[in-house]
């Protein structure tokens, strides 16, 4: 078993970014990214669940029989999601309403189960925590990137503050679900081009991209 390294953390931010490279967790990435605050809340909530469940799953990994591991993981993840659900409700009922069922649906976010199955259950708690932090940060940043564009174009605001001059024609389509697809596709286009260019010049950013 290898030692913890900075790569455990950095990997999730860029090279294996959950949304833009692995295309995981697209359901919340498309559904609740209609404003920056929704994106940030969903990103942080998912990061917390990733972190906590990664730590617990990695700590008990030698005691969990392989046959029941998925059930065990889901139970652990669901417990933390319940905590997050109540916490958000306590902080802001309005936010809780606008995120709707998607908070409970963090349980079935493939990103979390994917990290539990492929990383936390095979590595030490320290590495699992680093990995969860990196993946969580990558997920949050991705959602913020999508959410900011959608909110600026769709409402003319960012985090509820007006950033565009009065009289700006808002693009209703951006806060509709279809806007999520357009903006996600746009970011994928930009990032893929960037990575292809990096691969051609052989810069280290491209190392292992797409694996």
């Amino acid at each position: 078993m290898s030692n913890p390294s900075t790569d455990d953390f950095v990997r999730g931010l860029w090279r294996q970014n959950p949304v833009f490279v692995q295309l995981l967790g697209l359901c919340p990435a498309l559904a609740v990214s209609n404003s920056a605050i929704n994106s940030l809340t969903m990103g942080l909530a998912t990061s917390f669940v990733l972190l906590a469940s990664g730590l617990v799953i990695s700590s008990i990994r030698s005691w969990v029989p392989a046959d029941v591991r998925i059930v065990t993981y889901i139970c652990i993840i669901a417990s933390f999601v319940t905590c997050v659900d109540f916490t958000i409700k306590a902080i802001s009922l309005e936010l809780h309403k606008s995120l709707g069922a998607f908070i409970s649906l963090i349980v079935v976010n493939c990103l979390i189960l994917g990290r539990a199955e492929s990383f936390a259950s095979r590595n030490t708690p320290v590495r699992a925590v680093l990995d969860a932090l990196g993946m969580g940060a990558g997920f949050t940043v991705s959602l913020l990137l999508i959410g900011s564009v959608r909110e600026i174009l769709g409402s003319g605001t960012l985090f509820g503050m007006a950033v565009l001059p009065a009289g700006f024609q808002t693009w209703t389509v951006m806060i509709l679900p279809s806007g999520g697809f357009f903006v996600l596709a746009l970011w994928l286009l930009i990032i893929n081009r960037w990575q292809q260019a990096a691969e051609r010049t052989g810069s280290p950013a491209a190392e292992g991209a797409g694996k």
Binding site: G167, Q169, T172, V173, L176
Partner: protein
Amino acid sequence: MRKTLEIASSPHVASGASVELIMRNVVYALLPVVAFAVFAFGLAALLVILTATLACVGTEHACNRLAGRESTLGDGSVVITGLLYGLVLPPALPLWMVAVGGIFGVGVGKFLFGGLGANAFNPALVGRAFLQAAFPGAMTYWSPAFTPGRFSELPGSILTLPFAEPAFDAVTAATPLSALKFRDTGTEMADLALGLTSGSVGETCAVLILAGGVYLVARNMMNWRIPVAILATVALMSLVAGAVAPGAYPDPAFMLFSGGLMLGAVYMATDPVASPITNAGCWLYGLLIGALVVVIRFWGGMPEGVMYAILLANAVSPHIDNVIQPRVYGTAR
């Protein structure tokens, strides 16, 4: 003399009809419609159609340059897309929105799918559908036709600065369909057929649109089965609806001559790329569009549904081609 064995795949007999020739004829057929649009809505219509065409042509050129491909402007298809796209827009739409929709329609609706011959959807309608979703307010503002000053002054909204919210004139008109849906008032049949109503720039004059369609069919450049199937389905369904519940639904003639049905049936649904290949498939495709138009107009929240009906049928058309395959010559019946 070079003596090599040349093996070519079918077709071996060419009629001489090229993409350029067909596209040129479609432009000829569209010219009366464009002329009437300018006559009815004045300078505004001219600007909208010009901007739409320029945006589409410019996008096609830019996309080809970006991809390092040869320019495909020569085949004329993008000019048709631009003209048709301009004809389905409201006459007072700000020009920057016209440009945005054109860029989206050609860039996303055509180029990302692989260019001419590969576009799954009619690019002109993709552009319009995007605008409808992005700027629903501006896309449902209808200025009246035949205003006295239409050749000397422009509607206030049309020259709005890019990305700014347009301020529409106080005088609005209702399209025949929205008048029926939201105010329950009908329109004179003669006005509908001759295009004396409000509506999208080029959709109002049914007679000229039909004449252009007849010209293309006579020159064998359009599959007549598609418009016939669409119009027949719409007429039949509204006839049946009228018989079942008298007075509750508009009569067949109103259904045929109002809104974008004529323009859609003749010029949009017949897009040779996005429609089925076989004749039987075209009948089925037309039937589907007609049925969707009636369903959306009668029971939908919007007054008009031709655009969505055609786009949905575009999506189905490859499946129609899969189901309806011509019998290969020489195989068992």
